[in-house]
Symmetry: C2
Subunit: 276 residues, 2 copies
């Protein structure tokens, strides 16, 4: 129950209608007796820079979950950008430090990597291919790099976007082997679709599935359906897969840790969420 | 449960620790299936003017409950000040109009008057004495005037404060009979203590109780204890009384109406509140 001592996690985005975080975090906070609440705040782009500053000056503010259309803007508004957010060029979480400064981080990719690790798939030293160098692809590439992949292939139909991502990655991970310009999955241990392909019926697959090794682990960010055509094709090749929604739930423990709150497993959060 | 469609009532003040409104409104909203939530926001005075504007630009904002130390400031920040708030010189509620403008109102006095009416005590045409011309005294005087009292006595140890209140009242209620300079309750149908006297043990009584008529109705704003020494003395004179907390609960239906929400009785709100 909300009282005068409850700390706020502002869920900032616009529009708010499809927000899911309140129904995931708040039931967990309630069960655990954590005196915090996620509150959707439909903030437009023109008000966002000023509002972000002011909402963090509230005496009971704890943090912010940032979503569309503010993720990229936020990277330019915080005082400290952690490396993963700097590589992604976007933030989906902000907290206030004891000195009043704002720190931004990006957990989309962290959710992807945690999902892999929890499924018993090692990441350190492995070879990963990320298709799509937009916001979520950049975040996944950044988190794979942080988790210690040995080699990273980047591909985007906009070659300049992939090149820009490679430059950002190289700045923070100078020893990482980067390759560009191919969506051929052969030889990669981890293959991720972070393109929008699969969101609409009739979309082409993001790569030539016939080139997928059965030993490759295949992940997806599209959540339009649990098993997208791409994941179905990868499964039929014998690959283990990770669905888009896993990334969503796997990142929440990372957010909780970032905010200094007691954390739990993604499975536990999923079991207590009230998404229906 | 809070979702992406939930509308926000910002509870603005500082500090927030003693806020009670969330535990009164939110259980009622939950029981009634009203998709709204009262959220405490500890906003400091220096941030308040900018924050008030921005919080009302959120797409899901519904209104604001305003408390210490912002009630007087708010009167200077809204676009439209309703007469009761103008007389009180303070607002404790703000809503956004369809044109985007902010309207401010003051319900402390409304709660007092509603409490009287619900106890079967008529107000229209009666003679009332208000002791204390500060924020809450001014609000009660304004609401008594709006409710049609025939004559109003005002008293404050700071005579200038009572005179200023009289001028504000006269502007909106030119026909109202006003008297100043005496705290003698003899001849008044309604007598209100809106001074701080009674908040601390050993405070003197705000008037000479021996001059109270048994037929007078005596009200109190101090909530330090249910029956203050002043109310106890009035009762021993045979007077019917209204305790401070009644004012608190009686004003909530007025807030709900102001925000365009389904309303109920103060008793019902009290029964569903979770204040323990």
């Amino acid at each position: 129950m909300i009282t005068g001592t409850t700390r706020l996690i502002a869920h900032l985005g616009y529009p708010t209608g499809s927000f899911k975080a309140p129904m995931i975090y708040n039931p967990y906070f309630e069960r655990e007796g954590i005196d915090a609440v996620v509150v959707p705040m439909g903030c437009g782009a023109e008000d966002y820079p000023a509002f972000l500053r002011l909402v963090f000056r509230l005496s009971n503010s704890l943090g912010a979950l940032v979503t569309m259309p503010h993720k990229v803007t936020t990277a330019g508004l915080v005082d400290t950008l952690l490396p993963t957010a700097a590589i992604a060029g976007a933030c989906n979480a902000v907290r206030r430090e004891p000195d009043g400064g704002l720190t931004g981080e990006m957990f989309d990719g962290e959710g992807f990597v945690r999902g892999l690790l929890r499924k018993g798939r090692p990441v350190a030293g492995r070879r990963a291919l990320v298709l799509g160098a937009g916001g979520v692809g950049s975040a996944i590439a950044a988190s794979l790099a942080k988790a210690g992949v040995g080699a990273l292939g980047l591909y985007d139909i906009d070659a300049a976007a992939a090149e820009a991502l490679a430059l950002r990655l190289a700045r923070f991970h100078p020893a990482l082997g980067l390759s560009l310009g191919s969506n051929d999955p052969a030889g990669f241990d981890i293959v991720v679709n972070a393109t929008p392909l699969g969101m609409r019926p009739g979309d082409p697959l993001p790569l030539d599935v016939a080139r997928l090794d059965a030993a490759s682990f295949v992940g997806e960010v599209v959540m339009a359906e649990e098993i997208t055509p791409f994941l179905a094709a990868a499964r039929s090749r014998g690959c283990a897969v990770q669905v888009g929604k896993d990334m969503l739930f796997e990142q929440i423990p990372a957010y909780l840790e970032f905010f200094g709150l007691p954390s739990t497993t993604a499975e536990d959060l999923r079991s207590v969420a009230r998404l229906d």
